[in-house]
């Protein structure tokens, strides 16, 4: 299975030892701080599917003074599947499918104002980059926070570079059309 996978992320969290759904959700949100938080329902559904496919199994229950919770652990097949997935190459951008790109193309096709859109989008990107940089540069930032902020910043920066190049191309194109 290719791409971002809740199954594999949960298997990865189970690699450090048996755990229950609540704990897995909490640890996921700690380890992937800028990601969309996992819903509890999604965690439990995914755990049931891992059990169905033989990649995880129920180890019993744990109450720890509170409500009874089902403990899960990875099977040997699960551990093997996790290793396979972790080493699998992710396809480098197989499709260009991005809202910014689509909006610029549509603006050009429909006689809109792509330069004005790019200008406003750039300002929004910079604002988000300032937020992420402040999160990353805070003295208390842990490694997971820094890594996720780095990831987001580099992608936003790549968008910005594409936007700058596109704006320059549009300026050149307009000048050539005007010169005819």
């Amino acid at each position: 299975m290719l791409g971002m996978s809740t199954r594999h992320i949960l298997l990865g969290l189970l690699a450090s030892g048996p755990s229950h759904g609540y704990d897995l959700k909490r640890r996921h949100d700690d380890r992937f701080p800028q990601a969309r938080p996992l819903a509890y329902g999604q965690v439990y559904t995914t755990l049931q599917r891992l059990v169905r496919d033989g990649l995880a199994e129920v180890q019993g229950t744990d109450s720890d003074g509170g409500p009874e919770r089902t403990m899960y652990r990875a099977t040997d097949d699960g551990t093997h599947e996790l290793s396979r997935w972790a080493a699998e190459i992710a396809p480098p951008a197989p499709f260009v499918a991005n809202e910014i790109f689509a909006k610029v193309v549509v603006a050009i096709l429909s006689g809109g104002d792509p330069a004005a859109y790019l200008s406003a989008q750039r300002a929004a990107h910079m604002e988000r980059m300032r937020e992420l940089t402040a999160v990353k540069a805070a003295k208390a930032a842990d490694l997971a926070t820094v890594l996720s902020a780095d990831y987001a910043l580099n992608h936003l920066d790549a968008d910005l570079r594409w936007m700058s190049t596109t704006a320059a191309r549009l300026t050149t194109l307009t000048a050539e059309v005007d010169a005819v």
Binding site: S119, M126, M129, R130, T133, A137, K139, D157, A168
Partner: protein
């Protein structure tokens, strides 16, 4: 409520190098304690703007006002004193004196300002400590990594307690992690001491350390736009 007056501002600056116009009416304001990024493509006039604001270069037209004083009206001696006491400058590379150790490089501005040698060296050591390069204090710039040398340069720019630090592509010659260490150190030190920073960069990830960004395009400040 009236808008606060900037600590440092440029109004309608023009500057031509030979026959090449670098600035064509640039206006910008830097507030006390603010970190402002000036971005723009190569040749957009960023460095010339910094040189004019720092009183290193006099503009052909327009004015630079610092704390109520117009720099173009100050005699060279007074301007030089202002640069030494109120401003700190960091360039991309090469600004440390190669024959001096890191400690002596940082102590130098204090010695020039009349601090005694022991006091200057003690304070220089404290600033090297703040920038995480105290362990390299006896090394000469050529014996330090690029990131270490740049952090020592930042310590030298801040050691006199300036109100404004001008940083011209301070991470331009560094790898991304060294650049990040330099920027984090600069931002933390500036915030703690309330120093304003004018940061010239072409790198959006460096500009994102600032509170605000202005873009230069063809020698003027673009209203809000993509650097083309």
């Amino acid at each position: 409520m009236s808008k606060p007056v900037p600590l440092l501002s440029a109004s309608g600056l023009t500057k031509t190098h030979g026959r090449t116009p670098a600035l064509r009416g640039a206006s910008v304001g830097l507030h006390a304690g603010e970190i402002l990024a000036v971005t723009g493509a190569s040749g957009s006039g960023k460095s010339t703007l910094l040189h004019c604001l720092a009183g290193i270069v006099r503009p052909d037209e327009g004015s630079v006002t610092y704390d109520g004083r117009r720099l173009e009206e100050l005699p060279e001696k007074r301007l030089s004193e202002l640069r030494r006491t109120e401003f700190g400058v960091v360039f991309q590379f090469g600004q440390l004196i190669p024959e001096l150790t890191a400690l002596d490089n940082v102590a130098l501005p204090l010695l020039l300002a009349g601090t005694d040698r022991a006091g200057a060296r003690a304070r220089a050591g404290e600033w090297l400590e703040r920038f995480g390069v105290r362990g390299q204090q006896d090394l000469r710039p050529g014996e330090m990594s690029g990131g270490q040398a740049q952090r020592a340069a930042l310590a030298r720019a801040l050691v006199t307690g300036p109100r404004v630090v001008f940083a011209d592509e301070p991470t331009g010659a560094l790898d991304s992690l060294s650049g990040e260490q330099v920027m984090t150190a600069l931002v933390h030190a500036a915030r703690e001491s309330g120093t304003a920073v004018l940061l010239i960069t072409h790198d959006a990830q460096v500009a994102a350390y600032a509170d605000r960004e202005v873009q230069l395009r063809d020698g003027v400040v673009a209203p809000l736009g993509v650097t083309a």
